[in-house]
Amino acid sequence: MNIAMHINLWLMAAGNLRRYRAKSLAVMVPLALIMAASSFMMFTRGGFIKEAGTARNFLPDVTVQGIEAGRVGKISLAIKERISKITQVKTVVPRVWGYLPIKINDTDVSYTLMGLDFAHLDYSEKIPWTMESGSFLAPGDRKKAVLGNGVAYSFEAEVGDKIKIEDTLGNKGEFEVVGIFNSAVQVYSTDLIVVSLADARSFFGYNKNEASDLLVYTDHPENADQVAWDITRLFNNTRVLTSKALTNLVIEAFSRRGGTFQAMWLILLVGVLLLIWAQSSHISVDVSQEIGILKAMGWQTGEIIEMEMMESLILGITGTSIGILAGFVYALMGTPGISGYCLGCASIYPKFPVPVHCDLQSIILLFVLGVLPMMVVSAIPAWLAGIIDPDEAIRS
């Protein structure tokens, strides 16, 4: 193998990109833009899916909601004991929660206030939310709250501060901040205000025998489906959700959202391939003549294809690298301009950053998609021009 010959061809390929700058840029710029668009979408989609997967560890095995007049409503605690008696059910914990439409600095935002029964909640095992500062609530705590990142940011609250909450529906309350969640599962915690069950009841006007839903913990997560089935069978006026179903819902939603972008990306990629192909066809007279001249000088078709593919490889790697880097930076910046679309719930999470997850597999996939088609597209015209007689190629 003549390494020196290959090095000569590669150096010439690199030189050609410099010689034909306009042509190189005409291919590289659209490629970089496409790779930027597809990579930021891939990274943010990966971020959502990763968070959804992480959050699954924090969810109860089964959530039971009450149905009133065909809609989700309050649930009576009367069925709590009956659910507790179902085989494989370990604990049943009531929860009261609701959305808080609030105005902050003339901006309409929406948070979630959630009341939990800490006396019966095994949160050391099932809610391992790590705290950014302060601590979690303890059984018996009243008028105390743990805030999500976004809420703390909006209220400019720190541990020890007191916050007054008054939603636009007239519900009022004052709480001392004892802890702030970190960003481990921002999708779930950023808009959250966790208080005691009693405080939540008081805030939303629930009586002692009512809850928003019941959190059912089983002796083994694998039994969740069976328990859910038993609850559905026993109680007609309930809506039963397993943690698996809830997580899949989130993953599917973001997969579809990602799918939208991927479809866009695919269209763009096809567009650029057509652009490259059209350009190749357009300049094919020049390329054919050049290839004919090179062949007349004693170049072999394989050497010409190698040089053309090397040009595309350099172009593809450069364009893809720039695109991935730009996409990653754009994702880290919170996808300005389209974060609302990415999140799909911007009014609920006014300070919610788009999660970003970048892994080796995604990067390899992006490089394969960015570089391989370029190389194939460039090789075909070179091959077509290379297999005809040099005389014919020159005369073309």
Binding site: A4, M5, N8, I293, M297, W299, T301, E392
Partner: protein, 230 residues
Amino acid sequence: MIKLTNITKTYQSGKVMVRALNNISLEIKKGEFILLVGPSGSGKTTLLNIIGCLTRITKGSFRLADQEVSHFPDHFLSALRRKKMGFIFQQFNLLSGYSTWENVTLPLLPTGISEKKRKARAMKLLEELNLETRADFMANELSGGEQQRAAIVRALINDPEIILADEPLSNIDMVNVNIVMDILAELKKKGKTIITSFHDPKTLLSRLGDRTVSFQSGNIAKITDGNMNL
């Protein structure tokens, strides 16, 4: 060295088949200077392209150094061109994006010779043809005569046995005609086999030829030994 027997070459030109060469035979010995003369479209360039392995024959036999090359695969013909042939085109065919020295060293690139050695060899030949000051000029910045001289350097860079020149004097001025004539005379002295075409019988090139082959409508009309008797 070169033996063409009953060569026919047809081209597809749109829907029409054009017979560029019609059953011609010609033998060329090593070191001969052959002049191909005739009007435009008489088949001179086609014959040069066949001998230079730039196009394939339709019928007949083409032997080079006692080997039938008409059926050789493409890569073999490329290797043959690289090792044995130097081609001077009527339109120069320099690559516009490349400098003069890069253009003239193109045939050396796939041989694996380093850039330093390539450039050194190019500079030596460019100097012989008074082009050393134009080495870093882009091809399209050269005058017609300079381009032709650069094309000659490119044809000679591999020190080929056979030099094929298609109307080498047709696109240059008288000063450069004399320069090119001198170069070809020098190459003839060195024992190179030179085959060149021209359509103007009054051209000075005719003084150099060992034999003159006259073409008419794809046929060899006449083969004259020695220079053309103008």
